[in-house]
């Protein structure tokens, strides 16, 4: 274990701060999403995340020695063999949502990922980290006409919070040009949904329900990357990763109450505990390629497919569509070892299109996004920091058929440190 230096002390302090802030985040159970589209399934899946968010979120064939690409474990073998890596990703977004008759907005910011990586042995690398897989958060009030009545209404309040998170341990091994890797992922999380139906009529009861789903189980993310030169100045990398379909153990508690609106007296109607249920996590495949030219131009493309039509909650198919995403990213690096700082920056752009699993009112919910950003290397003595900034402009959904459209601006900051830990001391 190398002696602790001042930089390490700084890192430890940062980790402590991050741990406390993450803990406070969990304790306050803050909604990490504000969109009604997160009501379905285990919440809103992330369409564009990871260290290459500014490139449309490509990941399958991405590998470099500045970022921990936790989305494909085979990429760990690209990291420096004598460096210890830390990486922190944070997201913030501003969303304007609208229907044909009204609009609103929300802002969300959260710690999205924290990763560590290092080399264990020759050609063997490891990474450990924490990511957010899905988010669910809504608090909505509606005023509806009572069915069968012309002038009586009821209030409907629906509330949801939670999501799924990952804690993973990954290993990767390099066989020449081929790298294979696996992330052993513990998926865990709580999803809570509440409903109140309150008839606005005298002397009636109203209904409160609460559903809590707790998930804790393991899945494996298998990855492979193969890179080869097609000329002395150009290189292609092919990549793929795969989650096999898995039934995640889940517990579900459901309770419903009938409450006398006049006296407040509450009666339990249903109380159900399902302790050995499961939520099916369907097959997810991502494949892509990256083309490098003269270490200056990089083009990458990805395709992701998840068989969400097979998604089930406690044995009940949720009738989703399959999820598909295509992404294209471009990077320009003027000069990796340029004299000026702007020459050493990577300038990124990308776009992506998603056909989500949701189909509402006969309309398939799609997302289109345009991304751009930069990755700036910062050298501090023998310590390297890469600060990635990504801007994501996108549109999700539509105002047709009474649906909502979300126009968002997302900002992702990715901070990756690497420090030399494994240099032998020279004895003079």
């Amino acid at each position: 274990m190398p002696p602790m230096n001042s930089f390490m002390k700084i890192i430890i302090k940062i980790l402590l701060i991050l741990s406390l802030s993450s803990l406070s985040y969990v304790v306050t159970a803050q909604n990490s999403s504000g969109t009604p589209y997160s009501m379905y399934g285990f919440g809103l899946l992330k369409d564009n995340y990871g260290p290459y968010s500014s490139m449309g979120g490509v990941s399958a064939a991405m590998r470099d020695n500045n970022n921990i690409n936790f989305l494909n474990p085979a990429s760990y073998t690209a990291l420096d063999s004598n460096r210890f890596y830390f990486q922190l990703g944070m997201d913030g977004e501003y969303v304007r949502i609208s229907t044909h008759s009204e609009n609103s907005n929300y802002r969300i910011a959260q710690n999205a990922a924290f990763n560590i990586a290092l080399r264990l042995a020759r050609n063997l690398y490891t990474s450990i980290g924490f990511n957010q897989r899905s988010s669910l958060g809504y608090d909505l009030y509606y005023y509806n006409l009572i069915g069968g009545s012309k002038n009586e209404y009821y209030d409907q309040h629906i509330f949801g919070q939670g999501g799924l998170n990952d804690f993973y341990l990954g290993l990767a091994y390099k066989f020449g040009n081929l790298s294979i890797g696996v992330n052993s992922i513990i998926i865990f999380g709580n999803i809570e949904r509440r409903l109140t139906l309150y008839p606005i009529v005298s002397d009636s009861y109203y209904i409160n329900t609460q559903t809590k789903v707790s998930v804790a189980d393991a899945i494996f993310d298998l990855g492979a990357q193969y890179g080869f030169l097609i000329s002395p100045i150009s290189r292609i990398t092919l990549g793929a990763n795969l989650n096999l379909p898995t039934k995640l153990n889940a517990d579900k508690d459901f309770v419903s109450y009938k409450v006398n609106a006049t006296t407040g007296v509450q009666t339990t109607i249903d109380k159900e505990d399902l302790n050995e249920g499961n939520i099916s996590y369907p097959l997810r495949v991502t494949g892509g390629m990256q083309y490098e030219y003269k270490d200056k131009w990089f083009v990458a493309a990805d395709y992701t497919y998840q068989q969400m039509s097979q998604y089930e909650e406690f044995g009940r198919n949720q009738e989703f569509n399959d999820y598909q995403k295509g992404a294209l990213g471009l990077t320009f690096l003027p000069a990796r070892n340029g004299r000026f700082w702007w020459q050493r920056n990577k300038y990124n752009a990308g776009l992506y299109a998603v056909r989500s699993q949701l189909e509402l009112n006969d309309i398939k919910i799609k997302t289109i996004g345009f991304t751009f950003g930069t990755q700036m290397p910062v050298k501090i003595s023998d310590k390297d920091l890469t600060l990635g900034v990504a801007i994501d402009l996108g549109v999700r959904g539509t105002e047709e058929n009474g649906l909502i459209q979300e126009r968002y601006v997302k900002l992702r900051l990715n901070i990756a440190f690497k420090e030399q830990w494994f240099m032998k001391r020279k004895i003079y």
């Binding site: 701060i17 504000g34 949502i97 069915g147 002397d203 009861y205 009938k258 109607i269 249903d270 920091l385």
Partner: protein, 431 residues
């Protein structure tokens, strides 16, 4: 240090920047499997029934004869007993003057109060009989024999603004009889129990040509017989008052004759008149009525609807009965509160309908915008929820609606319904 500061700033940004203003948008995304709906069911098995008899041994006294276009003619004949006060010291030099009857109408009337009302007062020849098998109560169908010779005839205009104590001079024969008993300090007047057996009481028989019902005050100071006497210098009054202890002997005979109305068809309590068969000019679809004093009640057999499937429950159930307008209500008030009773196939009033020791009651709900929509509403949520879950629901879904047991004897107010009653059930479906 700059890096730490930067990171702390970013974390601070994270902690304070979350803001969710979205709280109503996206209505069409909400799963429509959770909702509230209302279903209405017409209660076609609605009948008007008439009680064969009901106890009237209470402290409320009504008298008179009234004709109601809806329910026919109702005659109320009260029977009273009187109790003597403490005997004064009457000497031989005291001289009898006269005897007067004092009554005090309360101002509560039904019918036409603009004409003279006449009552024939007779003395009872025996004390009203109380029987164990009748729970020592007197019923509206009972009579007590009385002396055919009138003790007095009283007449007055029952106009409300003139209601005060009314004084009527009575025949001196009975007055002298009382005075002799007082002078002799006879036990027939010194002991209340003896006096009641001696005097037996009075009956006020309404004249055939009367037009209204009048409610009398039963306070001893408001209903009494005064014996006036004097000596050389002073006038005295001795009162024999309406009974305050032996009230079980006081009762009302109530006879309703629905001649000329559809309710003439009701021969017995067990045979009701179906709503649809009570068609009349101002109620072309039918009618049902409930009224105090006359014994009319509305009987229903509730339709048994599902209590709700899984994840569906009844959040409200109510009976709605549209009130008939323009039914001579200037002279007859509407019931504003109604009681609900458990019943059976024989139309008996078994007990007040209650859930968790709370009696189910209904009330008249006025529509401020459209008076034509005034209706009686009875909230039966808890009862109906239990009923629909009961295995023998079809045997216990009989209810009777009408005046409370108190209003039955204290009010001639009427509930008149000219549309088939509706059972309205609100379901909430949730998951």
């Amino acid at each position: 240090m700059r890096i730490c500061t930067l990171i702390l700033l970013i974390i601070g940004l994270v902690e304070i920047s979350c803001n969710n203003d979205v709280n109503s948008i996206g209505h069409n995304l909400v799963d429509d499997e959770n909702f509230v709906q209302v279903q209405e069911f017409r209660i076609y098995n609605t009948n008007t029934i008439k009680l064969d008899s009901f106890p009237t041994s209470l402290d409320s006294i009504m008298m008179g004869k009234v004709k109601d276009e809806v329910t026919g003619t109702t005659t109320v004949t009260p029977y009273f007993v009187f109790e003597p006060a403490q005997i004064p010291n009457i000497q031989n030099y005291h001289i009898y003057d006269s005897v007067t009857l004092i009554i005090r109408p309360t101002g509560i009337t039904w019918g036409d109060t603009t004409q003279i009302e006449t009552f024939h007062i007779h003395r009872l020849t025996e004390l009203p009989e109380l029987k164990e098998k009748e729970d020592y109560l007197k019923y509206n169908t009972q009579n007590t024999p009385y002396d055919p010779a009138e003790w007095a005839t009283i007449s007055f205009y029952p106009i409300k603004q003139r209601f005060r104590n009314l004084y009527f001079k009575l025949d001196d024969k009975i007055g002298n009889e009382f005075f002799d008993l007082l002078k002799a300090r006879s036990e027939d007047i010194t002991r209340t129990a003896n006096f009641i057996k001696y005097f037996n009481g009075l009956v006020f028989i309404p004249d055939e040509d009367n037009h209204c019902l009048i409610k009398l005050s039963t306070l001893p100071t408001d209903l009494r017989i005064n014996i006036h006497y004097h000596d050389a210098s002073t006038n005295y009054v001795y009162s024999i008052s309406n009974a305050s202890i032996y009230t079980q002997f006081s009762y009302m005979n109530i006879v309703n004759e629905p001649v000329g109305t559809p309710y003439e068809a009701i021969q017995h309590q067990t045979t009701g008149l179906l709503f649809q068969n009570a068609v009349r000019g101002d109620a072309p679809y039918g009618q049902t009525v409930a009224q105090g004093m006359s014994g009319f009640f509305t009987k229903m057999q509730l339709p048994i609807q599902p209590s709700g499937s899984k994840y569906q429950t009844i959040v409200k159930a109510e009976i709605v009965m549209k009130m008939q307008k323009n039914v001579n209500n200037n002279n007859f008030g509407e019931l504003t509160k109604i009681s609900v009773y458990r019943s059976d196939v024989l139309n008996r009033l078994i007990s007040p309908l209650s859930v968790n020791s709370i009696n189910v009651e209904g009330r008249l709900v006025r529509d401020n915008i459209d008076p034509e929509k005034d209706a009686y509403v009875i909230n039966i949520t808890d009862y109906y929820d239990l009923l629909t879950k009961s295995a023998n629901a079809s045997q216990i879904n009989h209810i009777v609606i009408g005046p409370s047991s108190v209003d039955l004897l204290r009010s001639f107010n009427r509930m008149t319904i000219d549309e088939v009653p509706i059972l309205r059930v609100y379901y909430a479906t949730y998951e």
